[in-house]
């Protein structure tokens, strides 16, 4: 019984943690008007989250997302 409760707590904590990360990405309705580069960057960062268990991979993926965002701004921005 105690073991079951502990497992549930762990599950809920993990879900909450992922939720907090998602919310902190500011994916609200108001963001619909942001530029293409910003949208692409957020999309890339969401994909990066899938690598989170392996922090080294997540770090590299984030660097690629950031590089891509900067290139997008360089190309499109006046």
């Amino acid at each position: 019984m105690v073991l079951k409760i502990q497992k549930s707590i762990k599950k809920v904590s993990l879900i909450l943690a992922v939720l907090i990360v998602f919310l902190s990405l500011n994916l609200s309705a108001e963001d619909n008007e942001e530029g293409k580069c910003e949208e692409a960057f957020k999309s890339c960062m969401i994909n990066a989250l899938t690598y989170l268990p392996n922090f080294a991979l997540f770090y590299v993926y984030t660097a690629y997302c950031t590089n891509g965002y900067i290139f997008c701004k360089k190309y499109l921005e006046r």
Binding site: N26, F41, N67, I70, Y75
Partner: protein, 320 residues
């Protein structure tokens, strides 16, 4: 020889030498562009959205076309010759082809989403790949054994890495004194044949020159910008605007810097500095561009029509 002649000969030599020196000291007063070639338009499919360009000594032009997932070759008159590549992750395939540079024999092409530089011969045949451990924000091929790369670093101060043909870092050069907030030390760079390095910071008002041994020779700011605003995107603070977008050198060692959002004509103004860092003149591209490239015959290449067109200009120098 009489006494008079003995005096006159060295005197005339000195006068002639001084005159020759004064001729050499003539400074670039103005520079304008004469369009000589236009490749691609809204009415054809020569180019869809080009990103990188390089020209060889025979005036062939090589272009990365990101929306066409390809590398393309054109002749000196702009006639399409050949294309290679398709969308994919395999050898010779592209997900998002970006920067290109070349050695005597080979073309080196980066890809936004592939951790490697792909190498092609001048007939656009895929030869091999150089594995890379980092994303590339600018590229310069020094030789077939040395490729200089500027990159994004989340933790280290700004540096340029020199890779060998196997993708091993053989040298690294730290140009920033300390780690700056994310992206603030990103640069575009060029290296001349003497190994002298020129940096144009993308998000700071700073242009720098370093000697081959790594010593900073000078640092300039042209626009009087103290700080570039940063904004939060996906919880990460990133610089909002570009100060300088690219740097290129002409055959005289003059430095051409493409301005960004803070220029009077955003992404179109080009500042020309002497090798000593003195601002000589400014000119404006007819269309906004993300890059400038100057070949070894002093032709300048830039973008038009949002990347559908590649323009080639002869640089016309006016000296005082």
């Amino acid at each position: 020889m009489s006494g008079k002649q003995l005096f006159l000969v060295p005197f005339l030599a000195i006068v002639l030498y001084s005159h020759l020196l004064s001729l050499q000291r003539k400074e670039l007063q103005k520079l304008y562009l004469e369009e000589v070639l236009s490749i691609g338009s809204l009415d054809d499919d020569a180019l869809f959205q080009w990103v990188g360009v390089v020209a060889d000594s025979n005036h062939y032009i090589y272009v990365t076309d990101t929306m066409d997932y390809s590398l393309k070759k054109f002749d000196v008159k702009g006639k399409f010759l050949k294309k290679t590549g398709r969308r994919g992750q395999g050898p010779g395939e592209f997900l998002a082809p970006r920067y290109i540079d070349m050695s005597e024999q080979f073309l080196y092409v980066t890809d936004q989403f592939k951790p490697e530089i792909q190498v092609f011969d001048k007939n656009l045949n895929y030869r091999r790949s150089v594995p890379l451990s980092m994303p590339v924000s600018d590229l310069k091929v020094l030789s077939d054994d040395e490729i200089a790369v500027a990159t994004v670093s989340m933790t280290k101060a700004g540096r340029i890495f020199i890779f060998d043909s196997k993708g091993k870092v053989v040298r690294e050069f730290q140009y920033a004194d300390k780690k700056m907030p994310l992206m603030m030390d990103m640069v575009s760079f060029d290296i001349d044949s003497q190994g002298i390095l020129y940096l144009a910071y993308n998000h700071q008002d700073k242009i720098e020159k370093f000697g081959p041994e790594g010593k900073k020779l000078w640092s300039k700011n042209l626009l009087g910008i103290k700080k570039v605003k940063r904004e939060k995107i996906a919880s990460i603070e990133l610089p909002a605007k570009f100060v300088y977008k690219d740097v290129a050198l002409d055959s005289s060692g003059n430095i051409f810097i493409l301005g960004g959002s803070f220029s009077k004509n955003p992404s179109s103004d080009v500042y020309v500095l002497s090798p000593e860092g003195r601002l000589l003149t400014t000119f404006t591209l007819p269309d906004a561009s993300h890059c400038i490239y100057i070949d070894n015959k002093d032709f300048l290449y830039s973008r038009a029509n949002e990347g559908v067109t590649l323009k080639k200009f002869k640089l016309k120098y006016i000296y005082e």
